[in-house]
Amino acid sequence: MSKTITISPTSRQEGHATLSLEVDDEGIVTSGRYYSITPVRGIEKMVVGKRPESAPVLVQRICGVCPVTHTLASVEAIDDSLKIDVPKTGQMLREICLNAHMINSHAIHHFLVAPDFVPEDDYRQTVKNVSEIRKQAQYVEDVIGGEGIHPSDIRIGGMAHNITKNTKNKIKTRISGLMGLLEKHVEQMAGYIEAKDFPENLGVHAQPVLATSNTYGSRQNISLQSIQEIMPNSWYSDKYTAQEDEEYADETMKTAKRIGKTACSQIPLYDSTPVETGPRARANKYRRFKDKGAKAQHLARAQEMINSAERIIELVDKIDPSAQTMAKYTIEGTNRLGVGVIEGPRGTNLHTARISPEGFITEYNCIVPTTWNIPTMGMATEGTHYKYAPDVIRAYDPCLSCATHMVVVDDESKEVLKDDMVQL
């Protein structure tokens, strides 16, 4: 006889989510569902009708964990819609900023998962290392982005300022100086992850990976035609019709139905199936990393910090402090759908924007990394004991607040009024 186990809210992640698991007599998960219960903020709706310049400033408030990623995806989308060619130096500065953010964000995640992996004796030292790594990464974000949280200098058309020669040297010294500690920290984390007694194949799933670039993001490597967004209502209850639902006496089936109405995020499919995105996806596609599962994800994430640091050192050398970083442009749009794709710490962040000829935003949509991962995360918990399910979830470093969307439901009857996702 199967039973349902619900963990709500799941812990040590950004935002609030519920994990609903159907388990068999041995406690093995037969069906896993992970869904967001974070309240909706409505950022995508807010930017509609505004001037394009408002969009990056507003959407970076989607989340305080990765504002750099959202700002970049937003300016990229608007650059694309307005057909702006960003100067080379501006583009490089954007990439350095993103990679510094990558190091910073992965370091925060190590802090979050440290209780799972790090032995008590090493705990203090690990937290110290994380703090030091973050400090250096944030310095780079500060000087290039203008602000570590909510970067003000990443603008439509490029970057508001170039950096000075002094700053360029400082970034290089700081990141080169950090390399030793970073390598040590990654090696230690890898050791702890390897030593962890997870069941074999924990978190392994059959879904494909989605990644567009090794270090930045590319709109050429994603096809909008392949993307399909469906309602949680139809996704979580796809096996049952409404009539069948009424007939079901079984609690388990009713739970499935309820999830469809509670979940606050839509389900994006790429080529008609859920995908995994994030560090392991990038490593798999661009760094010949073939491992799968929860451990592999942690490992790929740790190693990516070094990858990003190397990229910063490589790029900062090429910065010309006297070069132009901002393109000249007018905000008369052509109603062209602009696409911005950024490889954020948690995966592929896709923003699309449309600017009217009068120069106002008429359409704005985000499909953010955790939204991609949400259906996959549930599937990944299947096949192992339910006590490991939270570990599987944490391996994705989910960040729910940006993944949240909403449907219109009648308050009294709880019936879905509008069966298409209101983009909020």
Binding site: Q138, Y139, D142, V143, G146, E147, G148, I149, D153, H161, N162, I163, T164, N166, T167, K170, I171
Partner: protein, 304 residues
């Protein structure tokens, strides 16, 4: 770290540890700077000793005698901006920028008393200043009775001295007069005639000697070519002490008499007494002034 001396609480001159009379030893600095070249010498010294890695100074703007704040990271840049410009320069506008694209981590700031008050307020309430205020390493203040908007200064130069800003080589306030020097002429305007031309905020400012700085200096109380240096915080004290030790500054006997510290004290006290009246008057009218009524203060000279 502890101060060598005990902090002296002085309501006229602000909290300080020691007052001395000094000038820079570097002839290049003396030639370019206003009086004793203390600020320039200290900044260059702090830069060379790695106490600061750059500083915000009033550099040359597009128009003559209209300074613009710049971030100086070399001795050359600091020297280029030395000398007093008797008009406003929004130095604090650069504080955040200095920690961003200029990447400063140990910032020096030079400013008038009101600007120094602003910096201290920034440090106390760092709103919108994440990773900024922790990077301020040195705050040097300059004495200031009042300051003129650029248009006022232009009026003095054009209408009273009958010349153009481009031709002016040096401006100086001493002995109750504003001197405007061109290469072949000199005009002295009595300070009394400049009243009404100062910026309105100066009417309420009770700080003459940059009481909240690490170290403040100016010409008052010292013989020509020298400056009176007020060592305030431990940061300021150790900087001045080591600069003296390393021969960057030379110290002479301080005149405590009528034309020395007494004069400095008199000017500071007069400024405060006069401004207290303005503050009271404004408060009586119901205007917003960020200062306390004199009858609510224990000592009316207090800068609050």
């Amino acid at each position: 770290m502890g101060g060598k001396e005990i902090m002296i609480h002085d309501s006229a001159l602000g909290p300080h540890q020691e007052i001395l009379t000094a000038r820079a030893t570097d002839k290049k600095i003396l030639g370019k700077a206003q009086d004793g070249g203390i600020v320039t010498a200290l900044l260059v010294y702090a830069l060379e000793k790695n106490i600061i890695d750059g500083t915000i100074v009033a550099g040359d703007g597009k128009e003559a005698w209209k300074p613009e704040p710049i971030v100086a990271t070399t001795k050359k840049e600091i020297l280029k901006s030395s000398g007093t410009k008797y008009t406003m320069c929004p130095n604090l506008a650069m504080v955040k920028e200095a920690t961003r694209r200029y990447g400063l981590e140990k910032m020096g700031i030079v400013g008038t008393p009101c600007q120094i008050m602003g910096v201290r307020k920034m440090q106390a309430y760092p709103m919108g200043l994440r990773h900024v205020t922790d990077k301020i390493a040195l705050i040097a203040g300059i004495y200031c009775m009042e300051n003129f908007p650029y248009d006022s200064l232009k009026a003095f130069i054009q209408d009273k001295a009958n010349t153009t800003p481009e031709k002016v080589v040096k401006m100086d306030i001493s002995k109750g007069k504003l001197f405007i020097r061109t290469s072949d002429d000199e005009t002295a305007i009595p300070i009394k005639q400049t009243h009404g031309y100062e910026q309105s905020g100066c009417r309420y400012c009770m700080d003459y000697v940059a009481e909240l700085s690490d170290v403040s200096c100016g010409s008052v109380g010292a013989k020509p070519g020298w400056s009176t240096v007020i060592k305030r915080t431990d940061v300021g004290c150790s900087l001045v002490d080591s600069a003296v030790e390393d021969g960057v500054l030379e110290v002479t006997e301080t005149n405590t008499g009528k034309f020395g510290l007494e004069m400095l004290r008199k000017l500071a006290t007069n400024k405060k007494k006069q401004r207290v009246k303005n503050v009271d008057k404004a408060l009586d009218l119901g205007l917003e002034v960020p200062f306390t009524r004199s009858d609510l203060k224990e000592d009316i000279l207090e800068n609050r």
